[in-house]
């Protein structure tokens, strides 16, 4: 965990008092909505269909138990008793009153949480691998760098009014769990031949109306130069990014229009001016930040404790363990993913009671730490293996032990037309129906790893372009219609999915997905060939045939 010091806390409190003044001026009419809009957005406040929506930052997806409890408190006191975890490791509340927002922010500030830059045209919450610091084989903990960048990008005086939003993600593992290739800047932590830490820098990824996979702009930027290099990218973007058309304002369009070579020359020129400035980070600064990340005092524990051996007889436990428990870098410990995708429920939602109970479980079994992943699930990162059976029982009671992580019912979905004022179609009911269709655990397991992503409009908050099966809701003649793509992926081999054919109606989506899955089961060469590999091998055609033969 990163512990805020007095300096961080002071800034958060100053921000709360500024926003309190802004809300007061808005409610008195001193600020017009046009003026206030950007100010509220910079504090995570949107207007949705039913009310204001309030998005709270969870930097790089790391939460302490007291912070999760405070989120539960906000859900209970200022909202309707639940929150929604998002694809950028944040949480949002759907019914907050503007007049009460400053109080909610003040309550969150008590535990070092804020909503700065969770929306608006600025640098958004820095995201990272939800297994950072505990994943086996990780080069080093990317959160040290995430925190450095978080600080640098918070209330940045030059880059708070960019052409459009700007998202940075960092990974330090071979397997990319942070989806860095669909971010404005993706950073892959690597070591050079001298063993020094640096980054491969990718730029210009993003989904939305015009999706792009990020391109490598520089193969190695030394850690000490990373802030100046990011600053150079942003300075080029701030000056030349398009401001005439909201759909062409992201950096991906600038990179695409200039071409990566010309764009990288611009960045390089700018960087040469500023790399030897006060932006250069000396080792002492890194060490200072590193020193404020505390790690648990792990015990020396056996690889296979008796508790685990005994529990193996319980098929319910075994199904969950095989699905939701991952290896930890320390022997005797595990990383436990907590599915927020129970059958028939909205993906990513958690009630205040669940959050409170999870905070207690984190204290008891995970050194008080919780993680949030971009798949809209949570994780307990430091669970002793001997505690797994007891943890499973407790999670099961809370409805949080659905063994469907990475399976077809582990669906990523945006809020869609049920909540969102931008949406053209509903997402959540589609997800709910799909989870019911594939609720049989044996069937889901037989299908294997398969990610379904659903967005209710072209803005692609559900990342449908990179779903193994992607579902995009659009509107046609006043009706909800869904376009279906296959073959996308968000990991280190990120790719955009391909459309299988004409859109289908709301009631047909689940049938079509069933057809696609049946086609896959029939077409795969062997049980180990995953859906995305079969699609890669055979292309869209056989799936298209199957789906449209009878329609």
């Amino acid at each position: 965990m990163y512990a805020y010091d007095e300096i961080d806390r002071t800034l958060v409190n100053e921000r709360v008092s500024e926003f309190r003044d802004q809300v007061k001026r808005r409610l008195s009419g001193e600020l017009t909505e046009d003026e206030f809009k950007m100010l509220r957005l910079q504090n995570g406040v949107y207007l949705q269909l039913h009310a204001y929506m309030f998005r709270v930052a969870i930097p790089y997806g790391t939460l302490a138990s007291n912070q999760l409890r405070q989120l539960a408190h906000v859900a209970r006191k200022y909202d309707r008793g639940y929150g929604h975890f998002t694809t950028r490791q944040n949480i949002q509340f759907n019914w907050i009153k503007l007049a009460e927002l400053p109080d909610a922010l003040a309550d969150l500030a008590e535990v070092g949480i804020h909503a700065m830059q969770t929306s608006g045209n600025n640098m958004r919450n820095v995201t990272s691998d939800q297994w950072a610091g505990v994943a086996p084989g990780e080069i080093e903990d990317p959160r040290i760098w995430s925190e450095l960048i978080r600080q640098h990008t918070t209330l940045h005086p030059e880059f708070s009014f960019l052409p459009r939003k700007f998202k940075i993600a960092i990974t330090a593992s071979d397997h990319d769990r942070a989806a860095i290739k669909i971010h404005d800047i993706g950073l892959r932590l690597i070591k050079n031949e001298k063993g020094e830490t640096g980054f491969e820098v990718l730029v210009g990824g993003g989904l939305g109306r015009t999706p792009f996979i990020a391109k490598t702009i520089k193969h190695f930027v030394h850690g000490r130069d990373i802030l100046s290099y990011i600053e150079a990218i942003l300075r080029v973007y701030n000056q030349y990014g398009r401001r005439d058309n909201i759909y062409k304002a992201r950096i991906k369009i600038l990179v695409h229009e200039l071409g990566i070579e010309k764009f990288s020359r611009e960045v390089e020129d700018e960087w040469q001016h500023i790399r030897n400035s006060s932006l250069q980070i000396d080792d002492e600064v890194i060490e200072d930040i590193r020193s404020r990340f505390t790690y648990p005092a792990y015990e020396k524990l056996p690889h296979m404790p008796d508790e685990l051996r005994q529990a193996a007889a319980d098929p319910g436990f075994e199904a969950w363990r095989k699905n939701s428990v991952a290896p930890h870098k320390n022997q005797g410990y595990s990383i436990v993913t907590i599915s927020l995708k129970p059958i028939g429920a909205p993906p990513g939602d958690a009630t205040a009671e669940q959050m409170d109970a999870l905070a207690d479980l984190a204290d008891k079994y995970s050194f008080g730490e919780i993680r949030v992943g971009h798949e809209q699930n949570l994780a307990l990162p430091h669970v002793a293996k001997r505690d797994l059976p007891a943890l499973w029982k407790a999670l099961d009671k809370l409805g949080l032990a659905t063994p469907n992580v990475n399976l077809i019912t582990d669906i990523i979905a945006c809020p869609g037309l049920d909540y969102c004022s931008l949406a053209n179609a509903r997402s959540i009911p589609i997800a709910q129906e799909l989870t019911r269709r594939f609720s049989n655990h044996e069937l889901a397991n037989l299908i294997g790893r398969l990610h379904i992503n659903i967005s209710g409009c072209i803005n692609a908050c559900g990342h449908h372009h990179v779903g193994h099966i992607g579902i995009l809701g659009v509107e046609k003649n006043g009706e909800e219609v869904y376009q279906i793509t296959i073959g996308g992926r968000a990991d280190e081999n990120a790719a955009l999915g391909n459309l299988i054919g004409p859109g289908v109606k709301f009631d047909e989506v689940a049938d079509v997905v069933e057809d696609i899955v049946e086609a896959y089961l029939a077409l795969r060469e062997r049980p180990e060939e995953l859906f995305m590999d079969t699609v890669k091998r055979l292309g869209v055609e056989p799936f298209k045939e199957r789906v449209y033969a009878t329609r």
Binding site: A51, P346, N424
Partner: protein
Amino acid sequence: MTSPLEQKKIKIAGPSVVTANRTWDGIVVYRTAANGWSADLSDAAIVRNSDEAKALLAESVADDVGAIGPYIAPVQIGADGKVQPGNLREQIRRTGVTIGSPVQV
């Protein structure tokens, strides 16, 4: 549903109302004939042609402190005279999410 936030031209095909969200708490409101806002659709002023719609929208926009993001939304009027939302989006805004709250589940 095409987002009404992109509403540029005012052209209405049938009876319509002006709807927005109340500034201080964000709840869904409808413009009334008495130059105010109501949370109840049955209180809404009904407009039936573009000129009426334009006038009602203009007066709604002018009340920037009262409510935000006003736009024109279609309604249907039943045989009994009851006013109903004219599309799915407005139906959802009026009656809430179609999926049940996780709190009650």
